[in-house]
Symmetry: C2
DNA sequence: ATATTATTGAACAATGTGTACATTAACATA
DNA sequence: TATGTTAATGTACACATTGTTCAATAATAT
């Protein structure tokens, strides 16, 4: 029922997205101006604002786009079945690595807070399902926060290493540390 | 050999610091303008800029001030001796709690990145000294990153809970999770 | 071929940044 | 108390960024 986008709209949106991502590779979000974006995307100022209310709205749109792409779309293409938590974490790392170009830009710098919050929500659900795997004598909410945040730290760590990592090894190391 | 500050300078600096901290309690760093600061501090625009080159410089100055105050100054006033890692972590939490007014403002929101980086450096040294306590079969740099980041997550967690926590319990829970 | 819709560029007000400078007030010292 | 030094003030300024408006133009769908 969703009407297809006008080709012009699609092209403009693409151009803005691409310009923004390219700028994110070299600059922090706060230092990128709307002017920078429309210059690189080569679109008019009014065009930008007819697509996005603010720069924040653009960031939000791009985060949810990429998140959907990685976590809901291609995530089923991981080779082999996924059963336990360790494999699921490797699974996530594998997909982030496959999309490293986008990920490094969004996680590598501090601009990554928003995107990270998407991932955190996802991880929170994931770890909640596996809380029984950790027989630690600590409050559950404390444990959950610990797992989510420390795996996020691992993701950032991998992004800083330009995703030149082995998903399986990282996932195994993570599980070893928290088990 | 350091010449004492002119009383006017001290007063101005204090006023700016206080205004900034108060604003940080309710607003995110990025949304606070120099105008807001000088309005609340009730000092002239040029006065502000004769003290600090930019808003970033002010944040940096305030972070290192508070860090020095907490981690180098009062940290010896903790009741009882500190020996093992768990006690040291409780120690840190205890002091952060004692300075909760400053801490919540600086850690509670995303503005906390800079201040957190000070703490991270400190924690990195601390955990490095205790790496032998963790006999985990994972690379040392991975383990160190994990410990530092997950304890920072715990600090943020405590700040979000307005520091209404028991330092001893939190430190114990943390050690249980990573041991 | 035509009606619709997106894009454009230019102009605009509003807000914020950082600097310059002459004037005034507070300070230290003798 | 008188004097030279230093800090604070306010005003004004150039500049950058944001977000809006609008009429003219181009691409699109039918």
């Amino acid at each position: 029922m969703v009407k297809a986008m006008d080709r012009r709209q699609r092209k403009t949106r693409e151009a803005i997205f691409n310009a923004f991502r390219e700028l994110l590779e070299k600059n922090r979000y706060e230092n990128i101006t709307v002017q920078d974006i429309i210059d690189r995307a080569d679109v008019g100022r009014s065009t930008f604002y007819s697509h996005f209310e603010t720069k924040d709205a653009l960031l939000k749109a791009i985060c949810s786009d990429i998140f959907d792409h990685i976590f809901r779309g291609e995530i089923c293409e991981y080779p082999g079945e996924t059963h336990n938590l360790q494999e699921k974490l490797a699974h996530i790392l594998w997909h982030l690595k496959a999309n490293k170009k986008d990920i490094i830009g969004l996680l590598g710098c501090e601009s990554g807070e928003l995107f990270m919050s998407y991932i955190k929500e996802y991880l929170s659900e994931l770890f909640k399902m596996h809380l029984k795997d950790f027989s630690k004598d600590v409050p559950q909410d404390f444990l959950l926060n610990h797992l989510v945040c420390s795996f996020c730290a691992t993701l950032k760590w991998c992004a800083d290493k330009k995703m030149n990592i082995s998903p399986e090894e990282i996932a195994r190391d993570f599980i070893r540390v928290v088990s």
